[in-house]
Symmetry: none
DNA sequence: CCAACAATCACACGTTCATGGGATTTATCT
DNA sequence: AGATAAATCCCATGAACGTGTGATTGTTGG
């Protein structure tokens, strides 16, 4: 039994979706709202497996809603619904951690398949949207950095480490003693929560710190 | 009328696909081959709209075939077929310019839809594959992959290093002695042209080796 | 069959790193 | 003025790493 929560501002569509979900075996509707201003607590109370989220909603739009969900550290699966296969929204939604992205014109039977799909870890997409995602991959868009609150000097040191410098080389490069380098690095390790040079390098690169 | 060209080494599947295509209205089979050693001239002669390309083929594998197609500056649409939703292949295929990526277990009726889809500029993907593509976008994968010709074992070791393992931990994880780990790492360093763990980690991440 | 390579293990030496203690100076915020 | 944080430096110890020089086994391709 897959528990589904719906956010869709258009009343007719919301009810239509609701009926589709609750009327299908294997699916259960746990709620349907016209806006996602209170996603957090609704998630908490209703504990859905999958959220259907309309992108174009008043007050808090769907992508904001998605961000709130991910910020709440929920691992619920989120399927975005939209009328247009609009480039910017697709990009934003993917970055924000959407699990799938469907056009509203998706036929009901397909929609149910897709919901089941997303439950199993799939990422159903309307193919026109997949096209855009492929282009993103090919042309290399991205962002999403974390902030570890490193001081300027700590950054200097870390950058050099990432470029393969030893402590001694860092010291020479920055005209400071090797003990100062040690000191900075110790602090960096604490802030990044690592305890080796290579872990620090990996974390810096993975989170695109520079 | 959509003209389809098939590359599939398994004879049975090739014939099955051929019958499906030629027996469906709106579709026309222009050819079916067991290898794509001569894609260029076959494309030139047969002028298909869509190519179905198996990834796992002897001689010239599907991705190589795809590259040859793109190198020939053809704008034919290419749908990759594969048994596994294997990460590396998806990435390579996307980079090489595939228009879609399907699992072979896709039911025939769907396959036809997908072919029509790709004709209209869509990028049909099995959803398990779409998941991987989304991850690529999120983690910003892109161009510039180099090949350092690491052995499988060397890859294993390097992956663990990237994840912050010490030599000792790698040895424990792979059930080999720490000296063996050293040995592998020494070879990795030579191939990557580095001489420290953190440089190796940096290079692996920067060149998106995995 | 032989060459080449991959994977495994061993030992030894010196270097680099991680971490634990400190300390001083300067700038900023309250 | 006192607190806080950043940047600098010092010392000492043990663990981790880098490199050299081996050796054995199994697989693969010519």
């Amino acid at each position: 039994m897959i528990k589904v929560l719906i956010y869709e501002d258009n009343q007719q569509l919301r009810e239509g979706l609701g009926i589709l979900i609750s009327g299908s075996i294997g699916f259960q509707l746990t709620g349907a709202f016209g806006n996602c201003a209170e996603v957090e607590q609704q998630l908490d109370e209703l504990k859905p497996d999958v959220v259907l989220m309309d992108i174009d909603m008043p007050m808090v739009n769907g992508i904001e809603g998605l961000r709130k969900i991910r910020a709440a550290d929920s691992d619920v699966r989120v399927l975005m619904l939209t009328v247009f296969d609009d480039n910017e929204n697709v990009f934003e939604a993917v970055k924000a951690g959407a699990n799938g992205y469907l056009l509203k014109k998706t036929p009901p039977a397909r929609l149910l398949e897709y919901i089941a799909d997303v439950m199993e870890g799939g990422a159903p997409m309307t193919s026109s949207i997949a096209t855009q995602v492929l282009n993103m991959v090919k042309s290399g868009n991205n962002a999403g950095t974390q902030d570890f609150d490193l001081s300027a000097r700590e950054m200097d040191v870390l950058k050099l480490l990432v470029n393969g410098y030893s402590y001694k080389m860092v010291a020479a490069e920055l005209f400071i003693s090797i003990d100062t380098v040690r000191s900075h690095i110790k602090n960096v390790y604490e802030k990044l929560q690592v305890n080796s040079k290579s872990e620090a390098v990996a974390k810096a690169l993975k989170t695109r710190l520079f």
